[in-house]
């Protein structure tokens, strides 16, 4: 375990922490498993929290503005949509070029994550990580060839780690007491 990396991460987290009050907190809990599927979903949340609809709308807009909510919408399962092959694609990039290459890779819609992470030497030399999706293994490999050409990655060592099995997939949970509800399916919990 690298304590230096960890304490740096901790520091950056504390700097970026949003200022949330008890109502924001309750609102986040109310929507984190999904929005109600009824005509006025925000009125339904308001009813559950005992506040009014306009307040819910204003607070959600605020949370989006602060970047606490990246966006609202659907989260797809790649596998069920025909993207059966996924791989973690990792690169060993000189430190001063990581941002440039990260930005280049992340513009393609079949790249769904692109992070810089620490190397763990000597066992793991790679410091730029992407998730890449394709219809098949060949499709993924072709897309990688395309990326190498587009982002001029010819000289950089890379490795493709195809997935064999997925054991667990759930959305991340941000409140400990919600942990046990994580497998809960979104329900139509509307009073009206």
């Amino acid at each position: 375990m690298d304590m230096k990396t960890f304490s740096k991460q901790l520091q950056s987290i504390n700097q970026h922490l949003a200022q949330l009050d008890a109502i924001d907190d309750a609102l986040i809990r109310a929507i984190e498993n999904g929005l109600p599927l009824c005509s006025r979903p925000y009125a339904e949340i308001a009813r559950q929290l005992g506040i009014d609809e306009q307040q819910v709308l204003a607070r959600l807009a605020g949370l989006q503005q602060q970047g606490v909510i990246k966006r609202m919408g659907v989260i797809v399962r790649h596998r069920e949509l025909g993207y059966r092959a996924n791989a973690m694609l990792v690169w060993d990039v000189p430190d001063e070029r990581v941002s440039e290459l990260g930005r280049c890779l992340s513009q393609y819609d079949f790249i769904t994550l692109c992070y810089r992470r620490p190397r763990v030497l000597p066992d793991w030399p790679y410091n730029l990580f992407c998730m890449i999706h394709g219809k098949s293994r060949e499709d993924v490999l072709q897309r990688i060839d395309w990326l190498i050409e587009q982002c001029h990655l010819e000289s950089l060592p890379h490795h493709v780690l195809f997935s064999r099995r997925r054991f667990k997939q759930r959305g991340a949970v941000y409140r400990a007491d919600n942990m046990r509800h994580t497998q809960k399916r979104q329900e139509k919990h509307c009073a009206t």
């Binding site: 690298d2 991460q9 986040i28 929005l35 966006r71 399962r77 949970v173 399916r185």
Partner: protein, 149 residues
């Protein structure tokens, strides 16, 4: 499951966002030339069939004080199932993949408190007898978050 053209339109459109207004479904339905009730019914079905994992907000966990990290392990093939069971039993393990590499187990640990990450990794190491290679995010390059279907 089979998706028709309307399902695809809904998925493509709602990956770009969902309005925060009084009647958001009606707004989206109008854009897609559907009725509000048909849009809601189709979303229910896509969720029930697990084409969609979730419909709602995507959070930036760090802003909420939560923490994530990616962890790699190199597990002996004949020991893989035992270790996978141990790792998967932790509620903080968000997902876990077996991958083709010397490092063959890759999982994400998500906690509501950054200090808890190290505790979880230490517990996993003690229970499994294998080292955790901790690879926390240092920088993020923003992706489109949209898969055209």
């Amino acid at each position: 499951m089979q998706l028709d053209q309307i399902d695809r339109q809904i998925i493509n459109s709602l990956q770009e966002g969902f309005p925060v207004t009084e009647q958001p479904y009606a707004e989206v339905a109008e854009r897609l030339s559907l009725s509000e009730s048909e849009l809601i019914a189709r979303l229910e079905r896509l969720l029930a069939d697990r084409v969609l994992t979730r419909f709602g907000p995507m959070f930036q966990a760090e802003k909420l004080g939560g923490a994530f990290t990616l962890v790699a392990m190199s597990v002996r093939d004949d020991d893989f199932e035992r270790v996978a069971d141990i790792v998967n039993s932790f509620p903080e393990v968000a997902h876990n993949y077996e991958r083709e590499h010397h490092f063959n187990m890759w999982f994400v640990v998500a906690t509501d408190n950054p200090k808890r990450i190290n505790d979880v990794l230490t517990e996993i190491e003690l229970d499994s007898g294998y080292s955790c290679y901790n690879m926390p995010k240092q920088d993020e390059y923003f992706v489109k978050l949209k898969l055209v279907v």
